[in-house]
């Protein structure tokens, strides 16, 4: 036997459990009400019969029979019982057929079975009291407690009317809720399966309402967006690699083929092989650089982060490039007096600054100047590299930070065309700002806001 799907959901089970607990509570509550009411009514009946018995007992024996008759006549609802019996138990007056055997004489009011009707044909359970009077006769006063049964009926009826529909309603609500939840889960399942199958454009359904399920769906959608972007980036990197490796690899292939056909001496063949190895090395360097840029752009490699004083870093870059500049007859000036420290990865920052200085020296003609400075603007440390080279034309400033971009003017200068993309990736990782300003010459800046 299998339950319908919705009945197996957690939502439905919880609904059932809550409805059950609620029903139990109502039953207990009603039972308490019934019990307290019964107690109250019984106590009241007892008080009434006791008072009545005392009244009759106080009357003279002559008046007593009349009073009892009158008392019974004035009870249209037929809830009162009274009887006066001789000491032997014979009835003198009243609507009771016989002296009830279970009734304790001169005791408190108690429950008793009375025989009433012609010839004692009927019995009824009442609250009754019996008292022996001064002349030896026995007085019995009873009061019907049907009201208690009526109340029980009312309470039971109310329970039936109120509780059953409420139970049905909660089961229905539980079923509905779980069916709805299950529908959403099934929809999510379906989309998830499509995503697994490779359709990364799929998103989980949202309803635009502020419920936890929607929030979760939105978070997952955010994740999916990021994953999709990453996949695109990766395939982009792949495309870049494929595109930019074809050229050097084709060259190597042609060169090797020609060398094989035409080289006349071992020396000639060696020269061909050497050139080919150099080209292959260059291709490998391109792959490494591209992967590195992708790694920096997409990883949150923050484990190497620490407080980095900028001035020593700049001086060290200057120290490293000083002989290179000198060889090229370019003046390299380092002006780093600021005490600024930034939160960052020292190796990456070094690499970025070194790249900028490397570029500046490379593009500055003999006799020119390269300035590496640490300045402060709007209370932010700014690393500035300025040179007297040809600069970067306005319309090419954005493009230079893209992979492989190389200005026409720089063709013929060694390099992979990846330097500035690498700098841009490093700067972005740190949350810094990279800008290439118009100038005479080239002026690039890395502004380092100190975030906390």
């Amino acid at each position: 036997m299998s339950l319908p799907d919705f009945a197996r959901t957690t939502t439905f089970r919880w609904t059932l459990a809550v409805a059950g607990a609620f029903a139990l509570y109502i039953v207990v509550l009603f039972a308490a009400v019934y019990w307290r009411t019964e107690q109250y009514l019984t106590a009241r009946s007892d008080a009434v019969v006791t008072l009545q018995a005392q009244t009759f007992a106080a009357a003279t024996p002559e008046r007593r029979s009349d009073a009892i008759g009158e008392f019974l006549r004035q009870d249209p609802r037929m809830v009162q019982y009274a009887g006066l019996f001789t000491a032997e138990g014979r009835r003198i007056v009243g609507n009771l057929e016989a002296l009830p055997g279970d009734l304790q004489i001169d005791g408190p009011a108690q429950q008793s079975l009375l025989r009433v009707g012609p010839g004692g044909s009927e019995t009824t359970i009442v609250r009754a009291i019996a008292a022996r009077l001064s002349d030896g006769s026995v007085l019995v006063i009873g009061r019907n407690v049907d009201e208690v049964e009526e109340i029980a009926e009312i309470v039971g009826g109310a329970l039936a009317v109120g509780l059953l529909p409420a139970l049905c309603l909660s089961i229905a609500a539980g079923a509905l809720l779980s069916i709805r939840a299950q529908k959403r889960v099934e929809e999510v399942n379906l989309r998830a399966r499509r995503i697994v199958a490779g359709d990364l454009r799929q998103r989980l359904p949202t309803r635009g309402v502020d419920d936890p399920f929607d929030k979760l769906a939105m978070i997952v959608n955010g994740m999916l967006e990021r994953i999709e972007a990453l996949i695109h980036e990766i395939s982009g990197v792949g495309d870049d690699i494929a595109h930019d490796l074809r050229t050097p690899l084709t060259r190597v292939r042609v060169r090797l083929e020609r060398g094989r056909e035409h080289a006349a001496t071992v020396e000639e063949l060696r020269a061909v092989v050497d050139q080919s190895i150099a080209s292959l090395d260059q291709s490998l360097a391109i792959i490494t650089a591209l992967l590195r840029i992708a790694e920096i752009e997409h990883s949150r490699r923050l484990e190497g982060f620490g407080q980095i004083p900028l001035a020593p870093l700049l001086r060290e870059v200057g120290d490293l490039y000083d002989p290179i500049a000198e060889d090229k007859r370019v003046t390299l000036r380092v002006d780093a007096a600021d005490e600024a420290t930034v939160h960052g990865d020292r190796d990456l920052l070094f690499e970025a600054v070194a790249n900028l200085v490397d570029n500046a020296i490379k593009f500055t003609p003999e006799g020119g100047r390269v300035e590496l400075a640490l300045v402060r603007r709007d209370d932010e440390p700014v690393i500035r590299v300025k040179d007297t080279g040809p600069g970067i034309p306005d319309d090419e400033r954005d493009a230079v930070t893209k992979r492989f971009y190389r200005s026409d003017k720089s063709r013929g200068t060694a390099g992979l065309g990846l330097g500035l993309s690498l700098v841009a990736a490093i700067v972005k990782l740190h949350g810094f700002r990279f800008s290439i300003a118009a100038g005479p010459g080239c002026l690039v800046e890395i502004a380092c806001p100190q975030l906390h």
């Binding site: 490494t288 120290d319 490039y321 002989p323 190796d347 070194a354 330097g419």
Partner: protein, 225 residues
Amino acid sequence: MARLLLIEDDKETADEIRAELGERGFDVDWAANGIEGLDKARSGEAEAIIVDRLLPGMDGLTIVEALRHAGVRTPVLVLSALGAVDDRVRGLRAGGDDYLTKPFATVELIARIEALLRRPAESRDTMLRVGPLELDLIERTAKRGERTIDLLPREFRLLEYMMRRKEQMLTRAMLLEEVWKYKFVPQTNLVDVHMGRLRRKVDEPDEPPMIHNARGVGFILRVPA
């Protein structure tokens, strides 16, 4: 003749490396997988171990960690196609002594193995001597014979590194990593320029040269004949 252990799953690569190293006079034992490699490495016969990181079902670093854990101190060169800076750091942290990214030039591999085999002992000497060359680590002065050499701090650092590894091939990448602690490959030929400076100061035109450019891949400091 130094015994080496090569743990590399690709037979073709392994054969190439063994042939190259064999020609240089190394006796190379080969293990094609991690388990075998670990067993051979534990025997302690090899003087240096070359481990590929991407072994079938195992990261080569696991072997290095296991060896170090077992107290085996044999120097290890980790080979990897994973070239990111973090990978290198992880490789060294796992107990590797050097890390080389595939593909590599054979000379680079050999230079690094030789460096591992001849790791300079931690000496407390305050004076280094190679032939006529003298380096005073306290006074920070350098002399060749009677001639005082005036060195910039960066040149001093470079010469100290070379003197501690005399007669040893030091490739550009090794110098960058060890002397300058730079973990990236600069576009400009930085090492050559710096070495050129140092060389002009160490080897004057009338003196027999000590700093030699070797096969276009690195530099060797030699005692003049």
